[in-house]
């Protein structure tokens, strides 16, 4: 492994988690991160001019993950599977079955809109500042704050609702 690969290796887990948040499957998230590493390695000369390598890698991961998700949906449509939607929105039946609180949280986060899901991942799981998230997702700080606020509001409401129903 050369110096460049060694340098970007430190981001592999956060990139994997971020991709996993979008594509929802471990094997596909692993493929995405591999592809990101290979592409980055092929263009390593360009990286000397890039200020924020991690933000660049996250953007690449986001794009490849969304591409993978779209191609998966296309395949699903070809097979006539209309159930598959962006993310894995939980059904009422599934919610009733899920008793474990962590699993319930999994469903709540999976049901968030795509941008809120990405912002949630980078803020809550990866602990990034609003500015870093804005750089990674190529959006304004205000958009980041709005998405963080909305994601937390949805999660809070669903947790309180579940608690009220004694789930």
């Amino acid at each position: 492994m050369n110096d460049f690969l060694y340098h970007i290796h430190q981001f592999k887990d956060s990139l994997y988690r971020f991709s996993l948040r979008i594509v929802g499957r471990t094997d596909e998230a692993e493929d995405v991160v591999q592809e990101v590493f290979i592409k980055a390695w092929e263009k390593q000369e360009d990286y000397s001019s890039i200020q924020n390598t991690e933000a660049f890698l996250v953007r690449m991961t986001k794009n490849l993950s969304i591409d993978k998700l779209r191609s998966k949906h296309r395949r699903a449509e070809q097979l006539g599977d209309e159930v598959m939607k962006l993310g894995t929105t939980a059904t009422p039946e599934k919610n009733a079955e899920v008793t474990d609180t962590i699993e319930r949280m999994e469903d709540i986060v999976a049901g968030l809109p795509e941008k809120q899901k990405m912002v949630f991942q980078l803020r809550e799981i990866e602990g990034k500042s609003y500015q870093e998230i804005a750089d990674c997702l190529d959006i304004s700080m205000d958009q980041v704050k709005v998405n963080v606020f909305r994601a937390r509001k949805t999660i809070k409401e669903k947790l309180l609702k579940a608690d009220a129903y004694g789930l």
Partner: protein, 170 residues
């Protein structure tokens, strides 16, 4: 931290106004196992966050896969200056090749004095010149006659076909 402090921090958190440091305090509190029962509804969120932070790729598998793919067939990416050097070498090759070709052409022109190389015979005897010219004219004439004969044969054949067709038409 007591209940009231946590409530204040939580309200700030839901409004999206907490710093990363304050969010860490909340995560630590809800994962400490000493959560106030009145706040237990929120505990799954912070427990889930902690669990998700531990998700990672299989280090060995991933690293060996990347190493394999980046060293396969010993293919290494060209550095930018290597690409420029290759382009410069190609241009230099073309320029030198064009220069050699042009100089060879110039030499040919200088040797023949004409764009086309032509064999020139010099004849001093007028009789011999007359014979050569006569032969040349005979040859040209013969070629012209051959051409005229072929044309005349073609016309005859055309006339024959035309007659046959007109007879059948009647």
């Amino acid at each position: 931290m007591d209940y009231n402090d946590i409530i204040l921090l939580l309200n700030k958190y839901w409004d999206g106004e907490t710093s990363l440091q304050e969010e860490k305090i909340l995560k630590d509190y809800f994962n400490s196992g000493k959560t106030d029962p009145r706040l237990s509804a929120y505990a799954p969120m912070f427990q889930y966050i902690q669990k998700e932070q531990q998700v990672s790729l299989d280090n060995d598998d991933f690293s060996s896969e990347i190493t394999n793919k980046t060293t396969r067939d010993n293919v290494k990416p060209l550095k930018r200056n290597q690409i420029w050097m290759r382009m410069a070498a190609a241009i230099l090759f073309l320029v030198v090749g064009a220069w050699i070709y042009c100089s060879l052409q110039t030499d040919n022109l200088n040797n023949t004095g004409s764009k086309y190389a032509v064999k020139v015979y010099e004849v001093e005897d007028p009789e011999e010149a007359k014979i050569i010219v006569k032969e040349a004219l005979m040859m040209v004439s013969g070629k012209m006659n051959q051409g005229a004969k072929k044309a005349s044969d073609g016309i005859n054949n055309f006339n024959k076909i035309k007659n046959i067709i007109s007879r059948k038409g009647k």
